[in-house]
Symmetry: C2
Subunit: 271 residues, 2 copies
């Protein structure tokens, strides 16, 4: 069905936003809209420009037989820094310190508004990398993993901390959640959840000792998967090398009396 | 800055898709684009039409001082049924039966493609209701809750099955996960997670005995919240009145030997 340019543009934007990180041949559009490829190209130029103006990422065109156009949702470096500073300002000075040195972030990590931004922040650095799946651990890593998966258009697998009967056969490993002085815990992942040999991006909400991230890396190894990177939303007193993970924010000081915390931007931006 | 209609249309579509279920005054657009209200109205007509053509929902205009235009992401009844049938076909006849009568659905509930559709299916029925928050229970309810929250543009709160030290003070209740013959478990929710008096939509992945949903309803009561409805992705041998919840799909038969299951559409469509 032949339609007007204005409707075609609206239709194409809907398509791109619903199918991020997916290569679509130009034929798809010229067939769907019964339009010349030159018209489609002009449309793409307009859309690309407006995406870039709106900090939405961009359209990227690939040549060749398997080529086409792809919507990549990302923040440019300048905007990326702004977004992380925005998160920093939201957390700084607020009463988030919980007993045991934990930090309360559930308010942010349950709001679509924040999750959409965090997901796009993380995805920004991995769109050009090969990522087959995101791996996270229950429960608070899940929303961030899902938000990122929406942008990268890959599945996310959820490692569980305790044995559940609902998952069929699982691979389980023991790990030290925080430091070597504490008790060993168990994490497990259903065998069918993750394809052998996948390239995996590990995502969690909080990193303290680093034991959970190390455990997730070993879990990935058990599935013969390659870890592309590990990303955490917030780190506090990490005890592992900061070359082995990237954090959006890190705690710089805590006021035990006021229960307030100060954070700074983490090493994610240096990626 | 004055820009061309084509770019304005692209910009507006981006805005609506990023801000579902949010009323925006027309002034916002006429100011942003330095355009007459009549031009903006024409744009809205084009966008509304194309959204409807693409099963994306529609634009709804509210009159009055606090009025404006709102993007409501939903499937029309016919498409809603198609979407649920699509899910049914994906599950029917596949090897999903796990020991203990559980059903494996993690593959679907970890794919952005499926989650986006499921979230929009559920949201379709509650856009015109007042919903302040979604309540779900860890772990497998979370992705569906988040997907729905993205469409309704409300926060989702995660009730946990066991005590965690990371949440500060909590309200906890005991519940019977499946039937009265089994052991009592505990679920809890951090006090700061949910505002008193909120209108809550309960979402979970799987309903068997109904004890978890009943527990979540009681949890909502503890916060003086009103339960708008309870929705589950899949039900199997429910033991509670089917007026108290809505299911997208229900298990109609299981083949213990083959480990395959048959499902039919649940009572969600009759809502």
């Amino acid at each position: 069905m032949k339609i007007k340019r204005s409707e075609r543009l609206v239709d194409m934007v809907i398509y791109f936003l619903q199918n991020p990180n997916t290569t679509t041949p130009l034929n798809y559009f010229s067939d769907k809209f019964v339009a010349a490829k030159s018209s489609i190209s002009e449309d793409l130029t307009i859309i690309k420009h407006t995406f870039e103006e709106n900090n939405m990422g961009s359209l990227v065109t690939y040549a060749g037989a398997r080529g086409g156009v792809q919507y990549q949702p990302y923040y440019e470096d300048k905007q990326l820094k702004k977004e992380i500073l925005h998160l920093k300002n939201e957390i700084n000075g607020s009463k988030r310190l919980l007993p045991g040195g934990y930090i309360y972030t559930s308010d942010l990590l349950s709001e679509p508004k924040w999750l959409k931004r965090i997901g796009k922040v993380i995805a920004s650095k991995y769109l050009t990398e090969e990522v087959d799946a995101i791996m996270t651990i229950a429960t608070k890593g899940v929303p961030i993993a899902q938000a990122t998966a929406y942008n990268l258009n890959v599945p996310f697998v959820i490692v569980r901390k305790s044995s559940k009967v609902t998952e069929g056969s699982t691979v389980s490993i023991n790990y030290l959640p925080r430091s070597s002085s504490e008790k060993v815990e168990k994490m497990e992942l259903s065998k069918t959840s993750l394809k052998e040999g996948s390239k995996v991006l590990i995502i969690d909400d909080f990193l303290r000792g680093g034991g959970t991230i190390t455990g997730l890396e070993r879990m990935a190894e058990e599935f013969n998967c390659e870890v592309v990177d590990s990303v955490v939303f917030l780190e506090h007193n990490s005890k592992i090398s900061n070359e082995s993970y990237h954090s959006l924010l890190k705690v710089t000081s805590v006021d035990e009396e006021d229960r307030t915390i100060e954070v700074d931007i983490g090493n994610f931006l240096s990626l």
